[in-house]
């Protein structure tokens, strides 16, 4: 789910940048540092705007200036139970991997409808029910997240296509 989220971050600036457009530089650096990262259990997708850039404070010893910047960002937090669309990356006998933006999902063969079976003899390998559903590399799938785990800067999820309206998306 996407949110507009108010956040705060400390940005340090090298003395060589001290000058008139310092605040712009601070904003640029913030965008560069933060956009597209995973902060705990959400991803920071885009920074909308910054506000409340504090006075710079010189850090003793290094000469760098530290600014505390408040900013508003679009963040994406996947939830357990959320249904998202993803693209199939690789297929193996135990299940398949799919990518939803920055999030990597694994959908195991246990979390598929029974009629969908692994077919290794097809090239490339695929999960199929021998009718309309074929999940192979590049297929778009609709997945329900059933498990999430985060580590510093990383997130993984377990998905399921066992349910109504889940699974292969017809283009």
């Amino acid at each position: 789910m996407f949110f507009l989220h108010n956040l705060e971050r400390r940005v340090t600036l090298h003395p060589s940048y001290f000058g008139r457009n310092m605040h712009e530089l601070v904003t640029t650096k913030l965008v560069k540092d933060v956009e597209g990262t995973c902060a705990g259990d959400y991803y920071i997708i885009a920074i909308m705007d910054t506000f409340d850039v504090s006075e710079g404070r010189i850090l003793p010893g290094s000469g760098l200036a530290e600014f505390t910047v408040g900013y508003r960002a679009v963040v994406w937090r996947p939830f357990k139970g959320e249904v998202i669309d993803a693209i199939t990356q690789t297929v193996n006998p135990h299940g398949f991997f799919a990518q939803a933006g920055p999030l990597r999902l694994f959908i195991s063969s246990h979390l598929m409808p029974d009629e969908i079976q692994y077919d290794a003899s097809a090239t490339p390998a695929q999960f199929t029910n021998n009718a309309d559903i074929v999940i192979e590399q590049g297929t778009h799938v609709r997945v329900k997240i059933i498990g999430l785990r985060t580590e510093v800067g990383e997130m993984w999820a377990i998905g399921s296509i066992n349910g109504d309206f889940l699974g292969c998306l017809q283009a």
Binding site: K80, T90, V91, N92, P93, H94, G95, F97, F106, S108, H110, L111, Y118, A120, S121, T123, P124, A125, Q137, I145, I146, G147, L148, R149, W156, A157, I158, S160
Partner: protein
């Protein structure tokens, strides 16, 4: 999915169950109290300050918490039961068995497996320890799941009558190279190599190691006939790629080899997913059963656990000297039999390639063989190593150098043909007619490989069918009738060289146990027997054609039944899986003219010696000679040649250590205890005393060039005097190695001067030296390369013992010295033994010496050279 849950080792046994808190059919959760139990323990009570304490038995009631989630199906214990030690307490039907896990998440229920719970003794992540997917390491499965998946795979394969084939990339089906020269040759149609390289495909990797390698092109040469080979093989085998390259590299190569992804699909595993950078392991892909798997790889040492399934392929070396760009992680290969396939061996680049392989062979042990693969520092160091190797290849452009060298060699060869008409016998290989190209594409390994794979497939399914028929009769249909491909391979292989007994000579570095060496293992694998000494039942002696071991060679020549073959014979047997006809590989042809063979010996010795001091004399020499001599000495000093030979033949089988129990003692043990110091001393004395007779024998040597064949052969056995026989020859060897040490220093200046001298050229130079006189030295440090004729330094030689030392030192710089010294020594023994002849010779030589002295003072150097030749003629 019921599971027996045990009480666990942490309880204070013996305990008594007081009360069961849950009933059959109840849902239980982790950490929920399931039963109460009581235990007795001793407690110290009383006044601890006053010292009046005593032990008192206490009974405590505690609860036991559930280590598992699920439904309690059955209690295995009852209330009031006395439990002495850890045992099963209940059966639980679990909701999820957590058999597939992805990055710490259960792939079946989505729960986090990394949570640690005090109630459980094992971690949930341990329930799925096996990683068996090609392109992921973080997807793990349980043993049960692995087995299930694999059985499905086997059923599918059996249905389509296929097997699995794991294919290595580098030097097995392709060779990669990052030398930018290839790209330039591709663009230049006038280059002699254009024809060879024009079909090479290339790609760039974004994640190559190091900045330099990041933007370089990888040139991929597929083995000749690869497309057809893979297409036909894929009807019988499901193909997997298993490489030590990085993932990106593997995928790019797979795309080059198989653009439609029809052959390999996504069954590609690389170093990144292997989990070990030193070894490949079939269990990584087939954790339960490898019965239906075969491997083709050019290295067997990377498959320590799966040797039976391996079909070893002779490495594909198209870019000469480049080797395997992804092998910098691996220990140096010890198993090179040749400089390529036999047809390759005669190529113009053979000397260079041989040298290369010798350098590789002699590389010795690499320290990082068995270290743990996941050690980050080791990995980092080796990534850096690879980076360095890459940069070196890009900057040094070895292929360009090779071609330049070849061109130069061609020019030299033209010159040499002119020179060799000067009368001195030059043994240069037949002069090349046109400009050689460095890259030759004449590999036919895949034909044989296809045959082997087809044979394996056929045999396998024949056996499977008969098994299945038998099982069906017994009413038992399942996977139990699946035969083991590894066993079938072994059977197929073991008939190839059955009945042969093979002795190696000069093929392995000294000190290597032949029974554990790669080549030795392979010989045994192909059904032949290995021997360490040429005994009665030996059928083949495999020699390193570049530097055959003398002793075994001589022993073999006394037995007409023993076929002396070059190592290429072994290589082609291994690759063709038949006992190849020995005739084209027979070594005897070169021995026929001993003079020439002698020259060949000295030259190649020198060549090898530069890069590799280990791999020289065949190991068991010292011992073999030792023994023979000991026996002969008491029995008859004055025996004639023939009688000695005969007696030796009679005695040998019992006396020589070929009856030693296999693999127990190294044949060089005898040398270890040898007193080198005394040998050196003896040699010094010997040289000092015999200095005057020295030149005489040389003259004789030259005179008897034709007969030398026989004399050399008999030299070790006809020297009646046992001790002196061993000492000088052994000491020579020692001195040789010492001199080679100093060579590296002494040669430094001359190496610079020789920098452009090609092996072929050196060969010619040395051979012409032999042509004039064995003992001739260069007077000046700079050999007269223009004339190609050596300049004899007679004035120094005449100066007696003092200068004799000098001459010896100089000899160290002399490239031909090794053989000279040996030949000289043996000539001298001949001389001693044939006393009468010797006397006459000495007189004759003294005269001649005087003559030469006179000539030397008056005459000019070239004349001296001619005169030397005349002396030989006389």
């Amino acid at each position: 999915m019921t599971k027996v849950v045990r009480l666990g080792a942490r309880l204070r046994y013996p305990v008594t169950v007081v009360k069961l808190l849950k009933r059959h059919g109840d849902k239980i959760k982790k950490q929920e109290a399931l039963l109460e139990y009581s235990f007795k323990w001793m407690r110290e009570v009383g006044d601890s300050i006053g010292g009046e304490t005593w032990q008192e038995e206490q009974t405590t009631i505690a609860t036991w918490e559930s280590p598992a989630d699920g439904e309690l199906t059955r209690w295995l214990i009852t209330e009031g039961q006395h439990i002495v030690s850890d045992r099963g307490a209940m059966e639980v039907k679990e909701e999820c068995s957590h058999e597939i896990q992805f990055q710490g998440l259960c792939g079946m229920c989505g729960k986090d497996m990394t949570e640690v719970n005090w109630a459980t003794e094992t971690r949930d992540t341990a329930r799925a320890p096996i990683s068996m997917v090609h392109d992921q390491t973080n997807l793990t499965v349980s043993a049960v799941q692995a087995q299930r998946t694999e059985q499905e795979l086997q059923r599918r394969l059996l249905q389509s009558r296929k097997l699995s084939l794991v294919v290595d990339l580098d030097q097995t089906i392709i060779q990669a190279c990052i030398d930018p020269t290839v790209g330039e040759w591709q663009k230049d149609p006038t280059n002699p190599n254009h024809e060879s390289v024009k079909n090479i495909k290339s790609f760039q990797l974004d994640d190559g190691p190091g900045d330099l390698a990041r933007h370089c092109s990888y040139y991929i040469k597929t083995r000749p006939g690869l497309d057809d080979f893979l297409r036909r093989i894929s009807d019988m085998y499901e193909l997997h790629v298993y490489t030590m390259g990085t993932r990106a590299y593997a995928q790019h190569v797979a795309r080059v080899v198989d653009p439609d992804k029809k052959l390999f699909g996504n069954r590609v595993i690389s170093r990144d997913e292997n989990g070990n950078i030193f070894a490949k392991n079939l269990q990584r892909l087939f954790p339960v059963s490898t019965h239906m798997v075969a491997i083709i790889d050019d290295r067997s040492d990377v498959w320590p656990r799966n040797r039976p399934n391996l079909i070893k392929v002779s490495p594909y070396e198209f870019f000469k000297g480049i080797g395997d760009i992804n092998s910098s992680f691996l220990p140096k290969r010890q198993d090179l039999l040749t400089s390529g396939t036999p047809t390759n061996g005669v190529g113009a680049a053979a000397p260079a390639a041989k040298k290369e392989s010798a350098a590789k062979n002699g590389g010795g042990k690499q320290d990082a063989v068995a270290e743990a693969g996941d050690d980050p520092t080791v990995t980092k160091r080796q990534v850096e190593e690879q980076e360095r190797a890459f940069e070196k290849q890009i900057n040094d452009r070895p292929l360009q150098l090779l071609q330049e060298k070849l061109d130069r060699e061609d020019e030299e060869a033209e010159k040499a043909t002119v020179l060799s008409e000067d009368g001195s016998e030059s043994r240069s290989s037949s002069p090349p007619a046109q400009r050689h190209r460095a890259l030759q594409d004449d590999d036919n390994e895949l034909e044989f490989l296809e045959k082997h794979l087809t044979a394996l497939h056929k045999t396998y399914y024949a056996e499977y069918d008969s098994n299945r028929a038998a099982h069906r009769a017994a009413g038992n249909v399942g996977l139990s009738s699946v035969p083991d491909a590894g066993r079938i391979l072994d059977e197929l292989k073991s008939n190839v060289l059955k009945g042969f007994k093979i002795v190696l000579s000069g093929v392995l570095p000294r000190g290597v146990d032949i029974y554990r060496s790669e080549i030795g293992l392979q010989i045994l694998n192909f059904g032949a027997e290995l021997g360490s000494v040429v005994g009665r039942d030996v059928t083949h002696l495999v020699v390193n054609t570049a530097q055959p071991g003398r002793e075994k060679l001589l022993a073999a020549r006394r037995r007409p039944r023993v076929k002396v073959v070059g190592q290429e014979w072994l290589a082609s047997c291994f690759s063709q899986w038949t006992a190849v006809d020995e005739t084209p590989f027979l070594f005897a042809g070169r021995l026929a003219e001993e003079g020439e063979a002698g020259n060949g010996l000295a030259v190649s010795d020198e060549e090898e010696g530069e890069s590799d001091t280990e791999n020289r004399a065949p190991a068991p020499n010292g011992r073999a000679r030792d023994l023979t001599v000991k026996i002969i000495t008491p029995s008859g000093r004055l025996r004639t040649l023939d009688s000695v030979d005969e007696s030796e033949d009679d005695l040998e089988p019992g006396l020589l250590p070929d009856d030693l129990p296999d693999g127990q003692s190294s044949p060089i043990d005898g040398l270890k205890s040898f007193n080198w110091g005394s040998a050196d001393q003896e040699l010094e004395e010997f040289l000092a005393s015999g200095s005057s007779g020295d030149e005489d024998n040389d003259e004789e040597d030259n005179e008897d060039d034709e007969d030398e064949d026989e004399e050399l052969a008999d030299a070790p056995s006809i020297n009646g005097d046992g001790t002196t026989t061993i000492a000088p020859s052994a000491a020579t060897r020692k001195r040789k190695s010492r001199d080679e040490d100093s060579d590296s220093d002494d040669e430094a200046p001359s190496a610079a001067e020789d920098a452009d001298a090609t092996p072929a050229k050196r060969l010619r130079r040395t051979s012409s030296q032999h042509g004039s006189s064995l003992r001739k030295q260069y007077t000046s440090d700079e050999p007269d390369t223009a004339s190609g004729l050596p300049t004899p330094g007679r004035s120094e030689e005449q100066d007696g013992t003092a200068t004799q030392e000098n001459a010896k030192k100089q000899e160290g710089e002399d490239e031909t010295m090794d053989f000279d010294a040996v030949a000289e020594m043996e000539a001298e023994f001949d001389a001693e033994w044939e006393a009468e002849l010797d006397k006459a010779e000495a007189e004759f030589a003294a005269e001649e010496e005087a003559e030469r002295l006179a000539m030397g003072e008056a005459g000019s150097k070239p004349e001296g050279g001619v005169e030397g030749g005349q002396g030989a003629g006389e």
